[in-house]
């Protein structure tokens, strides 16, 4: 290399490259490379690689850039884009871009060099790219031997590695923590909850030398364990229950994925299976619920509703939205499982890791067919398949029907169009009023037994003949005719506007529920009755949608002579929704009601018109087409009947081939055919390059002996792509997968990972503090434990390293000076509790925490304006609502407006993949801990609880102290709290205890 450099500088020294004689072949080192150095490498070299091209490295130069493929074609200077570019007559296109054009001499030299085969000696590859394999995380995973440090306390191999390293630095580990500290530490770590004072006492007094190990086993069997550790996983995969972006709509069916994660931890599902299920469980574990709901992983992140639902894929904005969507899926998958930052290769090859742009787009191609949507499923996978197929068949048939009908319409011409208009008008008349004024609509009642009335003042006492009540028509909740028509009612007439005692004026009283009359007007004989007022009272209201109302389209009163007596009457009612033209009391007298137009003329007329239409269409179609039409209709009926036999499917928000319509149609309508994925120059959707196949990372595939190019059988469905990627990641030969997960688990146990960038094991990430230990753990987890989380936890938490005190002990001054961050683990780390642990602990010590597991999330907010952009109003929520007194893993997680208390406490932002939470301390946090509704209301319950459990003030504050901190207060502490409680009340004292540093920190 030095030699090459030397020659190079000499050439430059001369100012001009030496031109070889025509006879001898061009010498790359002496003649060509100086030209590259002088004119090209500023933009196409180590600093910048404009257009993806660099001309200082042989391999890169001959492979070429993003835009032209290889820029140098050995043997053919004519076809080499490099030559075209340096010779271009167009100054805008000519290279070098911001410099003088190359001389004719220089150009001729380069051309000749190419024509001679572009010989570039390996020895002259002056700045060779680093060896891709030469990085700790990419090396094969082998189990290193366990060291045998000379002395020290060893409980298991973890300690051997840690101790060996400490000794090397001349440091010693700390002593073991006391049992009180250990149980609180382990309880928060494995369960996310504080231990009860009783549990603390029992453990402290347990004479069994294996008491700790038995406690570890007990905790790992607790369902609380899965609830605690699932939350860590949900941080990493950025799980949320709304879409994010604008119009942040809820995802009411996201929770089955959350339950899946909890279940997987509690069942100790082998990690490889856990990985495979989340990428391709539907293919690899058919017939299991877990295989389907696990796909919630791919859909966990944010989704741009507007960019998908309102902008089609044909528009640039729609393309951008879908590109970002797939990018999120790729990042989530490779970042979560392999700790690689593939997203950096979106606009150019990864600058530090062996990931090419093509690799990145190959990964996008894996997810090219799926979208995020509600996925219907049954426990029985075959049933699911049949159901989805039938649903799809229904869509296809409807489409064929439409095509045939459109064809007929086209052929039938204007006569049909005219007929359609008549049919539309007639149908509208039958269904609704044909006018916007629907009728009268009462206020909404929560139950059917609320009485509501509406009343006419005819202006004078009238001898009556007939009363007509016309029902409304409204499509709301699919009700249609008879909307709001009372199930039971009475009609009275009389001269007392209050109808205090007027049994003689009773025209009608229904004793039983009346059938829904549809839009048929109801008439009642009122002959012999007289009165100025007429009142219709609903005795049993009609159901709307989980609520009840009274609505009428028209009331018409005829006198004994058959003349209308109700025109100009004054309408009053118990209550009324007066809303625009549609609903108003005055509509009762406007002469418009659905039944009016559907009398003798209406339905028959409509039926007749429809028959005419059929005839006209049939005449317009060919014989074959008529046959097809009949077939399609018949099959549609059959499909609808088959679908009717299915139970209601379950739904999970997951990655799925989406059968949609409008802008968000998904790939279902194309039979689930994956979208074509092209390389995008600079990540710009308008600059498409090569079409790419699905695949993984090529260089890594070579390194790991796991081919990154998926050999998929011809005609393989999209799911084969996901299955291939899942297998590529979960393979034992992929060292990243196994290193990544044990590093994460370590991080949650110690508050600090061995590799402090858990989401990045590339060259921009950190180096492991204990590389051998990391590999030993990863290999043990993979091979000996067969991916068992619980075995891994047990190994780690029973180590001496884990059980050390977190306090600084005598003799450790050197450690504090040399390794203040405790990278080498000369003591345990003191942990500040995460938002969830704080929340759950507050509920638990207050005696309010309910241990109900699973199901839809609790919502600690009120949604306003759900129809547009939902407003999540946390301050309107009642902190006393027991529905919310569950563990915070069951909280409904909103992306746009995050829960303020949890956010101030540094909970994970569901829009980001969070490998490690922020840990902040601020006055805003202090204010939240003091004044948030949660602490303020729970402190009261905390006080009530200890009041019930202890006799006097001193023992009450002591009990509260023990519940919250797992230890008895010292005399000074007890005194201070008791005095405060005496002066300011027990609730204030309990609130104070929740605000202690000791409540939020675990030694």
């Amino acid at each position: 290399m030095n030699n090459a450099r030397c020659i190079l500088s000499m050439a430059l020294w001369g100012g001009l490259p030496m031109v070889g004689s025509a006879g001898a072949p061009v010498d790359f080192v002496r003649e060509v490379r100086p030209l590259f150095e002088q004119h090209c490498v500023k933009c196409h070299g180590p600093e910048k690689q404009r257009g993806g091209l660099r001309l200082d490295v042989k391999k890169a130069a001959l492979a070429g850039g993003e835009e032209h493929g290889p820029d140098i074609i050995p043997g053919d200077s004519e076809r080499s884009p490099l030559v075209r570019l340096i010779e271009s007559p167009d100054a805008d296109h000519r290279m070098p871009k911001n410099g003088p054009a190359l001389s004719g001499e220089a150009t001729a030299l380069i051309k000749r060099w190419i024509n001679e085969g572009a010989v570039w000696p390996d020895s002259a590859d002056a700045t060779r790219l680093g060896d891709a394999a030469d990085w700790w995380s990419l090396r094969p995973l082998r189990k290193p031997p366990v060291p045998t440090p000379a002395a020290g306390s060893l409980r298991n191999p973890v300690d051997a590695f840690v101790l060996e390293r400490l000794k090397k630095e001349g440091l010693a580990p700390g002593p073991e923590a006391d049992r009180r500290t250990l149980i609180r530490r382990l309880s928060f770590d494995l369960l996310g909850l504080p231990p009860s004072p009783e549990a603390v006492a029992a453990f402290v007094d347990d004479p069994d030398p294996l008491a700790y190990e038995r406690m570890v086993d007990r905790f790992l069997e607790s369902p609380r364990y899965g609830e605690r550790w699932a939350r860590h996983w949900l941080d990493v995969v950025h799980y949320g229950e709304t879409h994010g972006y604008d119009k942040d709509k809820p995802r009411p069916n996201a929770w089955p994925y959350r339950d899946y994660v909890i279940r997987s931890f509690n069942e100790d599902k082998p990690y490889a299976r856990f990985v495979r299920e989340q990428i391709a469980g539907d293919v690899l574990y058919p017939g299991t619920v877990d295989g389907i709901v696990a796909l919630g992983f791919v859909a966990a992140g944010p989704w741009d509703y507007i960019g998908h639902a309102e902008v089609p894929e044909t528009k640039t904005d729609g393309k951008v939205a879908r590109h970002l969507d797939r990018d999120d899926m790729v990042q989530n998958t490779v970042g979560t499982f392999c700790s690689l930052t593939v997203q950096c290769a979106q606009c150019h090859n990864h600058k530090f890791d062996p990931i090419s742009m093509r690799d990145y787009y190959s990964l996008q191609a894996v997810f090219a067919a799926v979208d995020r949507a509600d996925k219907p499923y049954f426990e029985d996978a075959d049933l699911t398949k049949r159901y989805v197929t039938l649903q799809w068949r229904q869509k296809v048939l409807s489409q064929s029907l439409k095509t045939l009908e459109d064809e007929a319409v086209k052929r039938a011409g204007p006569a049909l169009a005219a007929l359609e208009t008549r049919i539309a008008n007639a149908a509208k008349a039958v269904r609704g009023n044909g006018v916007p004024e629907s009728g009268y609509h009462s206020a909404i009642a929560p139950s059917p037994d609320v009485e509501k009335w509406v009343q006419l003042d005819l202006g004078r006492s009238v001898q009556l003949g007939e009363i007509l009540l016309a029902p409304c028509y409204d499509d709301y909740a699919g009700i249609g005719g008879g909307f709001g028509f009372p199930r039971r009612f009475k009609i009275e007439v009389g001269d007392d506007p209050e109808f205090r005692s007027n049994l003689s004026g009773l025209v009608q009283l229904s004793q039983e529920d009346v059938p829904n009359p549809g839009t048929r007007p109801q008439t009642f004989d009122a002959r012999g009755k007289k009165g100025r007022y007429l009142r219709v009272t609903a005795l049993k209201l009609a159901e709307r949608k989980n609520d009840f109302i009274f609505a009428l389209a028209e009331i018409r009163v005829s006198d004994a002579d058959g003349k209308t007596a109700s025109s100009g009457a004054v309408v009053t009612s118990l209550d009324s929704i007066e809303s625009g033209p549609r609903w108003a009391r005055k509509n009762l007298l406007d002469g418009h009601y659905p039944g009016l137009l559907s009398g003798a003329k209406g339905p028959e007329n409509l039926a007749g018109l429809r028959a005419d239409r059929e005839k006209m269409l049939a005449a317009a179609l060919s014989g074959d087409q008529r046959k097809s039409l009949a077939q399609v209709r018949e099959e549609l009926t059959e499909v609808a009947a088959s679908l009717g036999t299915f139970p209601k499917p379950n739904l999970v928000y997951a990655a799925t081939v989406h059968y949609g319509s409008g802008a968000f149609s998904g790939t279902g309508p194309n039979g689930g055919k994956p979208r074509e994925i092209h390389m995008l120059k600079r990540g710009d959707v308008k600059s498409t390059g090569d079409l790419v196949d699905p695949g993984a990372v090529t260089e890594l595939g070579n390194l790991f002996d796991l081919p990154a190019h998926f050999e998929l059988p011809a005609g393989a469905g999209e799911e084969a792509r996901r299955a291939a990627l899942a297998n590529w990641i979960a393979d034992k030969k992929n060292p990243l997968t196994w290193r990544s997960i044990v590093n994460r688990v370590w991080q949650y146990h110690f508050g600090k990972a061995m590799v402090d960038t858990s989401n990045d094991f590339g060259r921009m990430g950190g180096l492991p503090s204990h590389p051998e230990l990391l590999d030993w753990l990863a290999a043990t987890f993979r091979d000996d434990f067969e991916g068992s989380w619980k075995k891994l936890h047990r190994l780690i938490v029973t180590s001496q390293t884990y059980c050390q005190t977190s306090l600084e002990t005598a003799g450790q001054e050197a450690a504090l000076r040399g390794d203040a961050d405790n990278r080498l683990l000369w003591r345990q780390n003191r942990r500040k509790l995460e938002a969830e642990a704080v929340h759950d602990a507050i509920l638990q010590v207050s005696g309010k925490l309910r241990d109900e597991m699973g199901g839809p999330s609790y919502q600690d907010f009120v949604i306003e304006k759900p129809e547009h952009s939902p407003h999540y109003e946390y301050q309107l929520h009642d902190p006393e609502d027991p529905a919310c007194h569950r563990r915070s893993i069951y909280r409904f997680i909103v992306r746009s407006q995050q829960q303020p208390f949890m956010t101030t406490m540094d909970c994970a932002d569901p829009s980001m993949r969070v490998d490690k939470r922020n840990e902040s301390i601020s006055p805003l946090q202090a204010l939240s801990m003091m004044n948030n509704d949660l602490t303020v209301s729970m402190a009261k319950h905390f006080a009530e609880r200890v009041e019930a459990e202890s006799a006097d003030l001193e023992s009450r504050v002591a009990r509260a102290f023990e519940l919250a901190l797992g230890r008895s207060p010292a005399a000074e502490e007890r005194q201070a709290l008791a005095d405060y409680a005496a002066n300011q009340g027990l609730a204030n004292a309990c609130r104070l205890i929740l605000n202690l540093n000791e409540f939020s920190f675990v030694d």
């Binding site: 970002l324 961050d821 406490m905 202090a926 204010l927 303020v936 104070l992 920190f1001």
Partner: protein, 477 residues
């Protein structure tokens, strides 16, 4: 464990974190603070829904001349909603103002007296015409969620000027959040105390959790004051054997700062001592309690005026970054700038109210000597089309729109970058201005090199300006 110093830098408290800045302000500065600062504070005025550049600030006589003629953009245009109609002239007339002779629309005429302090940029371009992406791009520099708002970066980089008020305050439209809501002022991967603190001046609860709510009837000032003493006594006992853990001491002091904030924040938001002429200047109408149901200019001025006056008071008391929003989400009736249906009806009151209040803020800061080190930025997610979309409204125009800046280090009376004759795209399409340039320039004025204010997140050194950003030297004083 952690010393206070290492805590400051590694536990990610930021470099002037509220809890610590007063003690270590000088050494707490981020290494990116290498430029001589011209400004200390920022007000960002954000028009949610996309304000029309051509109806307010970017004078296009060609549109008046060709009003009503079929629009011809000279190329296919991909509009957000389909169906572009004829050219549509600006709804209001334009006049020239000030020494610089800047054209302003009549509807923003209250700003006329400020034009010689303002710098206009008419060739801003966005990335897409989708509100959420556009809003995030202008607010955080990225068109997807998960990145810190500009105020959060400034808070992280420069820290606080006050130890009893938040560094970054957000005054949302009282009718609701604009697109993306709090994601626009999120701290994302920066520590949570750098997120914008939402304040609703004049509301029943202006700051969440500053005081206990209804459930806290048992809590009094006295119980809190004595409680704080007991709390600190017990916390001190707990911390004594753990002195090497700086977090414990930081948390003890955070309770003292919280108590200070409880005093300072209500005082900052109390307008009762503001003289009547100041309130009038901002358009604040204490005499009006009931407003018409239709959107109207006086009401909009009152709302915006209250936010701007609150902003001035907060800036005076050491808040570093105030973000003021005009316009809520895209519900109906429109209370934002997304005038697809009727520019005159919806832009009119919003624009006049904004102009009245913004002009008052500029003048008021100036008369107090605060304008010289306070930057004001007026922005929006994108512009609107020079044609109708069939009726009286205009569709989204991410291809060009306007920003203006004013105050600390900004050269007044300038216009940089032009749009084409229609206000459809930049006149020089190869050299548009992007949000990165605006952000780079503002950070520069605040004394920060935008390429150096970075945080490593998921393998990438993230910065406000992504991998872009050029100083706009033409608008620097």
């Amino acid at each position: 464990m952690m010393t206070r110093r290492s805590l400051l830098q590694t536990a990610g408290q930021g470099f002037g974190a509220l809890a610590l800045s007063s003690l270590e302000a000088a050494e707490g500065l981020h290494p990116s603070a290498t430029v001589r600062p011209r400004a200390k504070r920022v007000v960002q005025l954000f028009m949610g829904g996309a304000a029309s550049h051509i109806d307010l600030f970017d004078y296009k006589p060609a549109l008046i001349k060709h009003h009503g003629e079929p629009s011809d953009f000279g190329e296919p245009v991909e509009a957000f909603q389909n169906g572009l109609g004829p050219w549509k002239r600006p709804v209001w007339d334009f006049q020239q103002y000030g020494q610089c002779g800047k054209h302003l629309s009549d509807i923003v005429a209250p700003l006329a007296s400020c034009v010689d302090d303002m710098a206009f940029i008419h060739n801003l371009v966005g990335k897409t015409g989708v509100h959420s992406q556009g809003t995030l791009l202008q607010a955080t520099g990225f068109n997807l969620p998960g990145f810190p708002g500009m105020g959060a970066w400034v808070s992280y980089g420069l820290g606080s000027l006050s130890d009893n008020l938040p560094t970054f305050v957000v005054l949302p439209d009282h009718r609701g959040f604009a697109s993306n809501g709090p994601k626009n002022w999120d701290s994302a991967f920066l520590p949570s105390q750098h997120a914008g603190t939402v304040i609703y001046p004049g509301a029943e609860t202006p700051i969440a959790d500053l005081f206990p709510g209804k459930a806290g009837a048992y809590i009094t000032r006295d119980s809190d004051a004595t409680g704080l003493r007991v709390l600190q006594q017990l916390n001190g006992r707990h911390a004594a054997p753990r002195l090497d853990d700086g977090r414990l001491d930081a948390r003890i002091r955070s309770y003292e700062l919280a108590a200070k904030m409880q005093l300072a924040a209500p005082e900052a938001l109390d307008f009762s001592k503001e003289p009547q002429h100041i309130k009038e200047m901002y358009g604040i109408r204490d005499d009006k309690r009931v407003w018409p149901t239709e959107i109207n200019a006086e009401e909009e001025a009152d709302y915006m005026g209250r936010k701007c006056l609150a902003a001035r008071r907060l800036l005076e008391r050491g808040v570093r970054f105030v973000q003021i929003w005009s316009g809520n989400d895209n519900g109906f009736p429109r209370r934002n700038w997304d005038s697809h249906e009727d520019v005159e009806r919806d832009h009119g009151p919003l624009a006049w109210g904004m102009a009245k209040a913004a002009a008052a803020l500029i003048q008021d800061l100036k008369q107090r000597g605060l304008l010289e080190d306070t930057i004001i930025l007026w922005t929006t997610e994108f512009g609107r089309m020079p044609s109708t979309q069939g009726g009286k409204g205009r569709d989204h125009n991410p291809y060009v729109f306007t920003n203006w800046l004013c105050g600390g280090g900004i050269r007044g009376g300038t216009t940089h970058g032009e749009s084409d004759q229609w206000g459809y795209k930049p006149l020089d399409r190869d050299n548009p201005t992007m949000v990165y340039d605006i952000h780079a320039t503002m950070l520069h004025l605040l004394g920060i090199d935008h390429t150096k204010l970075t945080v490593r997140h998921n393998g990438i050194d993230r910065r406000l300006t992504d991998v872009h950003g050029h100083l706009i030297r033409e608008i620097l004083a």
